[in-house]
């Protein structure tokens, strides 16, 4: 079981880091911009699909990742335009984009729901032995690069303006910045990060599946909130780091009932009971932590 616990931690770390870009992207839209952007599943799958097509076309890995981010940022910008120019309500704007993107994705994949890459992905190139440890290093490298880029974004005047827009919209107007333009830019950035996450999943799985983003929004938000619950960050970069930690912890909770740590329990429970137990596992620590600690509110958002 000690073995299993170690395996669980390694698995949670790997999958948590793999899905961390989703949480980081959601942090930008839900926290920085204070915008309930539900484009997540759509931008992740369009990023994944574009990445897959670029890999199949023989493009280098970094181009496929950038292409995915670009395609997803267009999706995010579309959500913002739908809200600010066409007047679609905030929550609906993301849902609409996701719906549109589903059909586009299937078109791009030639009507097939599941396709396998025949060319080598970044994991095949950097991890020739195909060892689990090296996978972890590759994913960690990508997430560290992403965190670095976000660090510079948050320091820049663009990042600060986005925070101003999320906190008090009218102040954004008074400092002479257009809220509409910055909303479009902000959602484009947030969805580019999410699209990058989708692309990473394709590189890791060597396949794209239209169903693979199902439930991504929920797990991403879970990672975000868990990270904030266990440690109330007082700066944006610590907040980003906690998003990554939260994503890993969420995956540890999901995997907790998958390893055979108790044979009697394994025998008693139906395979489908895992999610119920995961839910319980997530409730208890949050209740304990929130009871004994005052949460510091870094952002004005209340999602």
């Amino acid at each position: 079981m000690l073995d299993s616990l170690l395996n669980l931690s390694l698995a949670a770390l790997l999958v948590g880091l793999l899905y961390a870009p989703i949480t980081l992207g959601l942090a930008i839209s839900f926290r920085l911009l204070n915008y309930p952007d539900l484009t997540c599943e759509g931008s992740a799958i369009i990023g994944a699909t574009v990445c897959f097509m670029l890999i199949q076309a023989g493009a280098p890995s970094w181009i496929s990742l950038l292409g995915a981010a670009l395609a997803a940022s267009i999706a995010g910008a579309f959500t913002a335009v739908a809200h600010s120019q066409l007047g679609v309500p905030k929550v609906l704007s993301g849902i609409v984009t996701t719906a549109l993107l589903y059909s586009i994705t299937l078109r791009l994949l030639g009507g097939k729901s599941n396709r396998m890459t025949t060319r080598s992905t970044v994991f095949d190139i950097l991890n020739r032995g195909n060892s689990g440890r090296m996978d972890l290093v590759v994913v960690a490298g990508v997430v560290a690069t992403l965190l670095g880029v976000l660090f510079f974004l948050y320091r820049s005047s663009l990042g600060r303006t986005l925070r101003v827009l999320g906190d008090t919209r009218w102040f954004c107007v008074s400092i002479g910045r257009s809220p509409t333009m910055y909303l479009i830019l902000g959602l484009a950035i947030s969805n580019a990060v999410i699209g990058l996450g989708g692309a990473m999943i394709v590189h890791f799985k060597r396949a794209v599946d239209v169903n693979m983003v199902f439930g991504l929004l929920i797990s991403g938000l879970a990672g975000l909130v868990i990270g904030e619950t266990i440690y109330s960050a007082r700066s944006v970069w610590v907040h980003s780091a906690m998003c990554v930690v939260g994503s890993c912890l969420y995956n540890a909770a999901v995997g907790f009932f998958y390893f055979d740590w108790n044979p009697t329990l394994t025998k008693l429970m139906l395979p489908s009971d895992v999610r119920f137990l995961t839910g319980l596992l997530l409730i208890i620590p949050s209740v304990i932590i929130l009871r004994f600690k005052n949460r510091y509110r870094l952002f004005g958002s209340d999602w």
Binding site: M1, L2, D3, S4, L5, N7, L8, L10, A11, A12, L14, V15, L18, Y19, N114, M116, N130, G132, K205, R206, A207, D209, N211, M212, V213, F214, G215, L216, S219, N251, V254, G255, Y258, F259, D260, W261, P263, T266, P271, S272, V274, R275
Partner: protein, 327 residues
């Protein structure tokens, strides 16, 4: 935090670690009899596969002392990835994955244990084989949920004994149809039936193609695993019924809509085939040497009102054996 709490926590931790060490040693020793079933979401056909697999193992002496452990990702794709990572590191004699997605998820991670896949339509396209089913990329084998063509041809010859020319129609741009048509060709040449294939590229050409086939004197028509032909089954069935030519296919839904009959895939049976492969592997055969198989028999579906229109008498024995007789 007070001292007493720390004290208790310390003893609890020591206890957990001790139990852990014992448990790990036990599972490592039992690994040779533990089989993991990996399911990515609850689905009817997957449950049927599992049922057949369990029954198949219980029926054989080698499968008696096997412990079956089922793990399900409960329809969460992200949890499936985590689960596959954990499975890759635990001790099992072999891993049985239900369906294409679950199998892909497991095969990428599990390198030191044999993998059996259940109900994968095209294992080559799924990435388990290099170019053909003879060159596996690892210790893997399993079952395909392709139609039981042999049983379907038996049914056709039973109901249309004078069958000499069989007409089929498919879309030349669909890759999966070519697999299906290839298997039909093989069955035809085995039984001395000449196959008259017609290819179309869009639905509007179907009526013309069917009319052409009926002109050339076919005794029966078969709708293969082709999306264009299946999507326009009504057009084909109507034209053939007018000419009193029976239509056969592989899907019960098309039989319900007027095709004469079919033998469809039975997933419990497919699970039993998987169990036989598992036993071969438990006996010590490498998984890459166990051939990929598909179910030999299936569920029988017939349509009584179509039979009456065609003037074909459905044998009593078939009606009794049928899973469903549509009216």
């Amino acid at each position: 935090m007070n001292r007493r709490l720390l004290h208790n926590l310390f003893f609890a931790a020591v206890g957990v670690i001790l139990i852990a060490l014992v448990y790990d040693a036990v599972t490592r020793r039992q690994a040779s009899t533990r089989i993991l079933i990996f399911q990515d979401k609850p689905q009817e056909w997957a449950d049927a596969l599992k049922l057949g697999f369990e029954a198949g193992l219980r029926d054989s002496p080698e499968g008696h002392n096997v412990t079956l452990i089922t793990k399900s990702a409960a329809a969460d794709p992200q949890a499936a990835t985590t689960l596959a990572q954990i499975i890759g590191k635990e001790h099992y004699a072999l891993v049985y994955a239900l369906g294409t997605q679950a199998s892909q998820e497991v095969f990428r991670v599990v390198k030191d244990k044999p993998v059996i896949f259940g109900a994968v339509t095209d294992p080559v396209a799924a990435g388990f084989y290099e170019a053909s089913l003879n060159s596996p990329k690892g210790e893997i084998t399993g079952t395909q949920d392709i139609w039981p063509y042999s049983a379907q041809f038996d049914l056709m010859l039973r109901l249309v004994p004078q069958l000499k020319q069989l007409g089929i129609l498919y879309n030349s741009s669909e890759i999966n149809s070519q697999v299906s048509v290839g298997l039909i060709e093989k069955e035809c040449s085995k039984r001395g039936i000449s196959l008259l294939p017609r290819t179309v590229t869009e639905p509007s050409q179907i009526s013309l193609a069917v009319a052409g086939l009926l002109q050339s004197g076919i005794q029966a028509f078969f709708i293969p695993a082709d999306n264009t032909a299946q999507g326009n089954a009504q057009v084909i069935i109507a034209a053939c019924l007018r000419a009193k030519i029976p239509v056969f296919t592989g899907i019960s839904g098309i039989v319900e809509n007027g095709a004469l009959g079919t033998v469809g895939t039975n997933y419990v049976e497919l699970g039993r085939v998987n169990a036989r492969q598992a036993i071969e592997i438990l006996k010590g055969m490498p998984a890459s040497k166990v051939p990929v198989a598909s179910a030999a028999s299936g569920d029988l579906y017939l349509n009584r009102s179509t039979a009456e229109k065609l003037g074909i008498q459905l044998p009593e024995e078939l009606l009794k054996r049928a899973t469903n007789v549509y009216r």
